[in-house]
């Protein structure tokens, strides 16, 4: 089969990244489980750059550390069990990890908006949708009760909820799952944040609703000029909305690329396997699982962490030493010692 030439589109955001500070920069982030014993690192030295107005997908299986990373950025980790042990998180040039809790409260909402996976448990069942929206609006803006309510109705309309004047007085249990996720999005964008973090925003939803919600996030990111991080275990979601992707495995990034590069020319065997695991309607290709399970925190292998499940792994190269993240081009990295000799399958090859 002949290779289809793929035009590699470099997002303009990457080209201009050096001119102004990026929206968000994470350097050397280490997150650990703390408790009675010595801290156990679960995210080990993570670097991540979110360019302005870019949609970045943070991809990984459960336990890869993607959710902890997104929570750490908003400083929402439960400090008693999980803590940031090292690293910096810089939002438009300002270090978030050194801010006081009071300063951080005004960052959340106004500068960073969050959407969580499960809209049912993230909305308070005892209050109307309108109350939940207006209380956020009035905390951050100097608004009268009526003005806040008007804004709440407007926001519900913006996220595609029909008949917002009626919906604003309803309780979360009175609306469907897709609509709850829209309310969550309305809450997240209510204070016009510059950065939006969506943690598995569509995992709890049906396929048709998932398509609607992703479309909505993409549109809002564009019209409100937000820079967005979406965490997901599903590369299908990435294909749909993301400009760039970072693939996480066992607490570290194993590959970073633009969405097109990642799908057509993956540079890490784990990415290749994730692509092969996707079901596709009307495509005659077997869905292949990845044998085994990811290592647990505290049991990360010494060398390449994916080696025990990798069909390309060889001894001693893959297991003897820590594998560094190789910088291939601006915004393009991979963590695989055998990369130069491997030809990995993308979705069109």
């Amino acid at each position: 089969m002949e290779l289809t030439p793929v035009q590699v589109k470099v997002p303009s955001a990457i080209v201009t990244a050096h001119a102004r500070p990026p929206a968000l920069q994470v350097d050397g982030l280490v997150i650990g489980l703390v408790g009675r014993r010595a801290p156990m690192p679960v995210v080990t030295g993570l670097d991540l750059t979110l360019a302005r107005q870019e949609v970045l997908g943070l991809v990984g299986e459960s336990g890869s550390g993607k959710t902890l990373t997104s929570l750490a950025i908003a400083r929402l980790l439960d400090g008693r069990s999980v803590q940031v042990l090292a690293g910096t998180v810089t939002l438009f040039g300002r270090d978030l990890l050194t801010l006081s809790e009071a300063q951080m409260r005004s960052v959340r909402g106004k500068e960073i908006g969050m959407i969580f996976q499960d809209p049912m448990t993230s909305l308070d069942p005892a209050f109307t949708i309108g109350y939940q929206l207006t209380s956020v609006l009035r905390r951050h803006f100097d608004l009268s009760r009526q003005a806040a309510r008007r804004r709440a109705v407007e926001l519900l309309g913006m996220v595609g909820i029909g008949d917002p004047r009626r919906r604003v007085d309803q309780y979360p249990h009175q609306i469907s799952g897709g609509m709850r996720q829209r309310v969550m999005i309305a809450l997240a964008i209510s204070c016009e944040p510059k950065v939006l973090i969506a943690d598995e925003p569509t995992t709890a939803l049906d396929a048709t609703t998932q398509a609607q919600i992703l479309e909505l996030i993409k549109d809002l990111a564009q019209t409100l000029h937000m820079s967005t991080i979406i965490t997901t275990h599903d590369l299908g979601v990435v294909a749909e909305v993301c400009d760039t992707v970072a693939v996480m495995y066992a607490g570290q990034i194993v590959e970073q690329a633009t969405t097109e590069q990642l799908f057509y020319h993956p540079q890490h065997p784990y990415t290749e396997r994730l692509l092969l695991a996707l079901p596709r309607v009307g495509v005659e290709q077997e869905m292949l699982g990845i044998p085994g399970a990811p290592p647990r925190a505290g049991q990360f292998p010494e060398g390449c962490r994916f080696a025990p499940r990798c069909g390309h792994a060889v001894e001693p190269d893959c297991v003897a030493h820590v594998v560094p993240l190789e910088h291939l081009a601006p915004g393009r990295t991979a963590r695989c010692v055998r990369r130069p000799e491997l030809t990995l399958r993308g979705v069109r090859t």
Binding site: E61, G177, A207, A211, H233, P279, V281, G282
Partner: protein, 354 residues
């Protein structure tokens, strides 16, 4: 083609749930969860049922296995008339029809060992001695990809994918002929999902299992099924061979489902038109008159709002309930898709100019 007797035959099945009662205890509002459904499953084959939440697909499965009672209709399993069986007869029949549940976290008792969990159906059945039960459990573990020492461990020490293997082992110890798989992989990661689906297919050919496979993910259903039924608000709107339904579909709702499933190819994904459906599915309490899909359908004509379309079967077993596409048989697959997109676009253009 040789005629085989279906393992499961369902005719004109209905199920409603009362949601509000008057002071006299009479149901004033009902959810019509399953609406005049007929289907068949051949031994050793898979019927996939796909639909959104609230489409009644899980309820249909439960009614078919008599986990909940139907209002009316007929269910035949092998040669038994399932709805006529006594409680005792039903219990022994149940050994041949089991269930794999969606959420492997809530389906397993956290205090029991894996051995106790897997042998429970045999214990209830009362058909095997303790020693026999132990041998059966030891036999099934490697077949679902669990190690022998799993017997003494508790569910907490297993990952989601491994827990689903425990659920599968429990569903298979009684040597069933029919397994109802209720969204068996939707709570699992993509990588684990493919593993578990592969396992289900291996076990199907090894034990000659028939699957009633329910999921909201058309990609997954297409991989697993010989035939697919598409459900919308309690009714089957399209049914046929898996390949036909996924590629030469003739119902507008199926076209929308196909366009909603990710193509896993970013360029193709962004280039193609999508039929993003307007609004949420209507509530099953208040099912629209006529065709249940007409308020969201780009091709709806006046008749769709008044007459409910019949499921019209072609000789090769492809059935569609749609006034428009049954009148114009050229509307199939991409042709149907394109005409829906075109209609939507001209509709949107009209709106902006008026």
């Amino acid at each position: 083609m040789t005629e085989t007797m279906p393992l499961l035959t369902v005719r004109n099945l209905n199920k409603t749930f009362p949601v509000r009662r008057s002071a006299l205890g009479r149901a004033t509002e009902v959810v019509h969860a399953v609406n005049d459904v007929s289907l068949e499953i051949e031994p050793g084959s898979t019927l996939g049922i796909v639909g959104e939440s609230g489409s009644g697909k899980s309820t249909l499965g439960r009614v078919c296995l008599r986990m909940i009672e139907a209002d009316d209709g007929e269910i035949r399993f092998a040669d038994a008339n399932l709805r006529q069986l006594s409680a005792a007869q039903l219990r022994s029949t149940r050994a041949h029809m089991t269930t794999i549940f969606q959420d492997p976290y809530s389906a397993l008792d956290p205090r029991w060992t894996v051995g106790q969990i897997i042998e429970e159906p045999l214990r209830i059945n009362g058909s095997h001695s303790r020693a026999e039960r132990r041998t059966i459990v030891a036999d099934i573990l490697p077949r679902v990809g669990l190690s022998a020492d799993a017997v003494h461990r508790i569910p907490r020490s297993f990952s989601g994918g491994q827990r689903q293997r425990i659920v599968i082992a429990r569903a298979l110890v009684t040597r069933p002929r029919l397994v109802f798989c209720d969204e068996p992989v939707s709570s699992l990661d993509v990588s684990t999902r493919a593993q578990v689906l592969g396992l289900l297919r291996e076990l199907q050919s090894e034990f000659q299992l028939a699957y009633l496979f329910v999921s909201h993910d058309l990609g997954v259903v297409e991989r697993m099924s010989d035939r697919i039924a598409v459900m919308y608000l309690g009714s089957i709107v399209e049914i046929g061979a898996a390949e036909t339904v996924a590629q030469r579909y003739r119902h507008p709702y199926t076209a929308a489902l196909v366009s909603a499933s990710p193509a896993a190819d970013p360029v193709a994904q962004r280039a193609r038109h999508r039929i993003v459906l307007n609004g949420d599915p209507p509530s099953p309490i208040d099912i629209p008159k006529g065709c249940p899909f007409h308020p969201r359908c780009a091709l709806a004509i006046a008749r769709c709002a008044t007459d409910k379309p019949e499921l019209v079967m072609t000789p090769n077993g492809h059935g569609v309930a749609c006034h428009v596409t049954n009148a114009d048989r050229t509307l199939t697959g991409t042709t149907l898709f394109d005409s829906m997109v075109e209609r939507r676009l001209s509709f949107a253009a009209e709106r902006t100019t008026s």
